[in-house]
Symmetry: C2
Subunit: 412 residues, 2 copies
Amino acid sequence: MNAEIITIGDELLIGQTIDTNSVYLAKKLEEIGIRVSRKTAISDSKSDILEMLHSAQNRVNLVIITGGLGPTKDDITKKTLVEYFNCGWRTDQSVLMHLAKIFATRGRELLETNKIQAELPDICVTLHNEVGTAPGMLFNENKKIVISLPGVPNEVHYLTEFEVLPKLQQFFNLPKVEHRTLVTLMVPESLLSKQLEAFESSLPEDLSLAYLPSYNCVKLRLSCKVLQKSENYLNDYFQKLQKAADPYVFCIGDETPANFIGNYLIKNNLSIATAESCTGGFIVNQLVQVPGISEILPGSILSYSNSIKHEELHVPQETIHTYGAVSEEVAVAMVDGVCAKFGVNIGIATTGIAGPTGGSPEKPVGLIFIAVKFNEKILVKKFKLHGSRLQFMERANNCAMAMVKEILEIKE
Amino acid sequence: MNAEIITIGDELLIGQTIDTNSVYLAKKLEEIGIRVSRKTAISDSKSDILEMLHSAQNRVNLVIITGGLGPTKDDITKKTLVEYFNCGWRTDQSVLMHLAKIFATRGRELLETNKIQAELPDICVTLHNEVGTAPGMLFNENKKIVISLPGVPNEVHYLTEFEVLPKLQQFFNLPKVEHRTLVTLMVPESLLSKQLEAFESSLPEDLSLAYLPSYNCVKLRLSCKVLQKSENYLNDYFQKLQKAADPYVFCIGDETPANFIGNYLIKNNLSIATAESCTGGFIVNQLVQVPGISEILPGSILSYSNSIKHEELHVPQETIHTYGAVSEEVAVAMVDGVCAKFGVNIGIATTGIAGPTGGSPEKPVGLIFIAVKFNEKILVKKFKLHGSRLQFMERANNCAMAMVKEILEIKE
């Protein structure tokens, strides 16, 4: 079964806001067997919303709209839905009570503007929004569903999990689409595709392989569109894929490299710390997104300046003087220093030039030395990374995770 | 003039990839006076691509497609464009030469798969992609333009800046849309909208105000749709907006709070360091996205464990014991410690519970103490933040930036 998502808001079209709601929604719908076949972003314009609702409802039986439910003048979704469904208005007492409660908790006065949130189209089912002020709405007309959600991400998450998915599961009864994903690191897409040529040719029609590239990282996703076969059917082909992609596989599953490493370290009770110069805490901040990491990550040092490299990490001033701050020798001294300081099993150190300024012909922007230490073993590598300041940090992080996997000899 | 963006790729629909390309493109097009009126994400399906091209070309004179130009089997955009325009193929020698060069530089063999990138529809103008292997393509049929770009973000950036924008500026001749943006922090959208009621009512028809909310932060964007008036016309109303929103204005312009603070510190040669516990380096990593920050940010400490709070930041063990690690007293000791350690003008310290675990009735998930020190002055505040682990860090970062502005008494 297919669905379409319509996101409403000028801010999505003018390039001021990145739409993460539809990404989240698509993933969650996929999990219950609903495929998003199209996503459309339109402006806060009545005629555009009406036209999109008409055309989307012609194509699919489920349309989800996000945005335009705020209390301000440019939020017109609710009014437009009343016009589209040609219905009236009602005041939802449960929403009113929820608003009173939420404003009391926050110690703020409940304004007339806020009370408007309780005025709803009279034919809709209210979707209770525990974490915000704008309720979701569900319209069921001739077995075709339209759902309207607010645009604030954590409210979309709450409503999806506790209202939308359970109600859709009840309403539709569908076969599940199954996926298996693995992550490759440090291999270009074209080389990977050559490596997988024979495997791809051997795929039966009901299986498909997708390449999902990002920085230094290509995810491979094998999908079974109709799971009429046994679960082993997809698993068997996924094992063939793992074998075919073997030298490049970083981990199995759909997770970030930092997430994989973080969880591995927690599970194996291995402690870690970073000493970052050019990556400015990016690597440790990827690791700390993993819940529970504080148990094995006591701390980290960001050391931009040479004096902090010396004072905090005990990098000898002579080493910095002889080889320069951006050098293999300094990276090694930094990783030694951070492991000794925090008494951790694993250390990661980075020194390089993130740009856009600070490069020279000898040491250009994008140059980075990464050192990883595990007990007494040290691995140090030089990379030349391209892209913006943030992309440089993302690539460096993936390089570091690949090195941690290498030094720990993790078999996947 | 209006344009539509079509993004192609199953990964955008299945929720595995966040689309930043269309956000970037919309912003850049807006700057040269082209308004994106619709964005549509569709799958790697020939029929969907053909249908969207037809319908988009019926609505607007400029259609930009991203994605589906990779060297692998699931990339079908180029073939579909040949079918759509009913044209033939040509080999582009300049692309072949570029491919040879790029593979030589990377020390990799040029495979037949890669050479396919030089096979182009014979009626298209080649858009040279210096930073990648897939060229962009421009089709001009009866004064209607279709542009096809790859899906890799830094390639989209390069092609847009050096090929797409100059060619579009040459082709179309359009009035500019002007925007003025300001950033408010720590005020809910509904309260802000009440505050701005009189201002909004006073706006003439050719000006519009949009609210762009994110975590603890609402951007206000005033737009002049047709700049027939003098530049002062928009500026005058923008000044009225600043006055109306006055108590809540964080900064003028469209930038992140961390970017504003980072640039302010660089400009005023004020040094800064952070001592972060629950925010895990998130705050310093927002600051280090500002080029040149390493001049005034010597280093930072991430101190999850109590022993590192004590050893590195000299937080007395008694303070931790008496008040708990998550307390006002520890936040103050941490900020004292980090300022002393690095000899900086400004310190930021955080201690709290990011969740999802680790909370208690007394100290629930979301509780955070933030201390900011400037020379001898210390400001410390307690917040209860909601949302996921990452949202908690984003909100905490905005709180910290507001506190830095407050303690420095920056007037905007």
